[in-house]
């Protein structure tokens, strides 16, 4: 008797057994359904989170280096953190010196940050990130213009009170009218809106909830110092990134007047570092999340094993009859394995059927997607759960002695 016929026969038997014990099958399946739903949703959420992180990071650009006081890989100890806090700040002058000396850079953008409320008439937007920078930010900052235009070199130089606002700010302050040409008030000062940034739609919302103003306006109007948060350097040739980084490092040491042997009092960051860190974090979150939700699937699997033991005991006589008539061990084993796997696969299918619309709802609030990978993984996991939890009961059935099994009442 070949395997295909056995499988087909096993399926037929499994189906009739499942139908014969409807309530029991439903309850058992429920355990698997819950397990698959939670695991799938967790997988979906993790995948969504991951892709959102990646999207946010990739908008930064792989060919941009970030000179900062802090290192993105983060301080390992509190001591290190304190040392970093003691590093002198970057200044506008240092940025200008960098720009003069770098040969491998396409753009050098000084950036300062602040946080303010923006008002337009009666409407206001709270906690908007105010970015003071130059026209070069368009090249290094991973931003694009959706409407209007970006700062011009002259505006950045002259410090005219103009601004480019993020899409979220635009929709909050100007629900109906076009923001272009309107005067908004940042802090206490009026700024004319000349452009709106492209919608980024990232999970942090940091790019959509910002307003970019000329660096000079920032220095004069908000912070009264020449401190910068970061200097962004776009390299001319991304394949030459390592050399550009080397050059930047040595020029930066000169700019900071460091003697040979002094430790760096700045850090050069790039996308890869933050990617590595994000991967590490999402792997941990994902691992913990899947483990916890996996527990519910495990409980479902125990339910299957339990019910399969009951099923085997109940059908001892049937097993005896089948064996007397010529069923081999393998045939019986397969019959019960197929039954357990069928229950689990049905559970998995129902679970996916529930998880899919839930994912669609989730998409309204967070990036989530039910990827084919997650779907096939869920099917595989439910199949595996059935096979694993069905094996011991099936093995017990397969090894039954036909004489004893037939005598069973």
């Amino acid at each position: 008797m070949n395997l295909l016929i056995e499988l087909k026969e096993g399926l037929a038997i499994a189906w009739s057994a499942i139908r014969a014990n409807k309530l029991r099958s439903v309850l058992t399946t429920l355990g698997i359904v819950i397990g698959i739903v939670t695991v799938t949703l967790m997988g979906t959420a993790i995948a969504g989170l991951n892709s959102a992180f990646l999207k946010a990071i990739s908008s930064i650009g792989a060919d941009v280096l970030f000179v900062m006081r802090e290192d993105w890989s983060g301080p390992d100890t509190e001591d290190e953190w304190r040392k970093i806090q003691k590093r002198p700040r970057l200044t506008v002058e240092q940025a200008a010196e960098l720009e003069r000396n770098l040969t491998l850079a396409a753009a050098v953008t000084p950036v300062a940050f602040d946080q303010r409320t923006i008002k337009f008439g009666k409407r206001s937007a709270d906690g908007v990130r105010i970015v003071g920078s130059t026209e070069q930010l368009l090249q290094t900052g991973g931003v694009g213009i959706g409407d209007g235009r970006f700062l011009s070199a002259a505006e950045a130089e002259g410090g005219r009170p103009v601004c480019v606002i993020g899409s979220m700010v635009a929709t909050n302050l100007f629900p109906r009218e076009s923001p272009l040409g309107q005067k908004i008030v940042i802090g206490q000062q009026p700024f004319e809106v000349i452009g709106v940034l492209e919608k980024q739609g990232d999970i942090f919302g940091q790019f959509d909830n910002q307003a970019i103003i000329p660096l000079r306006q920032m220095m004069a109007g908000f912070q009264h110092t020449h401190d910068l948060e970061v200097v962004e350097i776009k390299v001319k040739d991304v394949t030459n990134l390592e050399n550009a980084r080397e050059e930047l490092h040595s020029v930066m040491r000169r700019v900071r007047r460091l003697a040979p042997g002094d430790p760096d009092d700045f850090s050069i960051n790039q996308q890869e570092e933050i990617l590595a860190k994000v991967h590490k974090i999402t792997a941990i979150i994902g691992g913990i999340g899947l483990f916890i939700t996996g527990l519910s699937l495990f409980v479902g699997g125990i339910g299957i094993m339990n019910i399969m033991f009951v099923s085997v005991t109940e059908r001892t006589r049937e097993i005896g009859i089948r064996k007397a008539i010529g069923a081999k061990r393998r045939t019986i084993l397969l019959q019960f394995l197929v039954e357990a796997a069928t229950i689990c696969l049905i559970g998995g299918a129902i679970g996916l059927g529930i998880a899919w619309p839930v994912t669609l709802v989730l998409q309204q609030y967070m990036p989530a997607s039910l990827s084919p990978t997650v779907v096939s993984l869920a099917v595989l996991v439910s199949l595996l759960t059935g096979l694993v939890s069905g094996f011991v009961p099936a093995w017990r059935a397969a090894r039954m002695n036909p004489v004893d099994a037939l005598r069973n009442e």
């Binding site: 009859i321 064996k323 010529g326 069923a327 081999k328 002695n401 036909p402 004489v403």
Partner: protein
Amino acid sequence: MPLIRFHKISRRYQMGAETIHALREVSLEIERGEYVAIMGPSGSGKSTMMNLIGCLDTPTGGEYELNGVQVSQMDDNQLAEIRNREIGFIFQTFNLLPRSDALRNVELPLIYSGMPAQERRQVALEALSNVGLADRIHHRPNELSGGQRQRVAVARALVNRPSIILADEPTGNLDTKTGAEILALFSQLSRQGNTLIVVTHEEDVAKHARRILRIRDGLIASDERVGQGQETRSADQMAVGA
């Protein structure tokens, strides 16, 4: 070559500290086409004998040759194959699968022997019509009378054309009339050349056979051949029987 050859077959069971000798070095030969009744009181070892003949169990001693094949040393799976090919079982409690209809029950041995679905259905239909149930093929066991159920069981036993039809108290759960019908069916099968072995404790059933084996305390107490198996013979005629 005899169909069944028992050579000093023993079967011991371990019941806690006690060893039970269900069969003690029994030797026996049964030829193709015989109609044999195995009789004995409960605990005599007749069930053990039936299980051994039917390859449901293996002896703890001795040799069993079935159809020229040594089966006493076979493993589980080989025995399953032998049962499928060589033995057709008929049980007192019918032992049909309750959730399957008559046709599927009869198809079962064919499924295990790997017959293709279409041919399988044909053969099973024929077997069912041979026992007069052509119009009941889609009835489940609980929709059939006792006699009909046993006919389904007979059809199932015959469907693989086995060497032996092994019946264990086949009329035990039937009323006298349907029991007689089943026995008439057995006689007919015997006339058609089938080998029948019936285990029973009822003289009325045994008298249909042409050879009666009486088991007592794990030994063959008597081995008696009776004419056409129609009339009962008294004890003093036993010696001349055959």
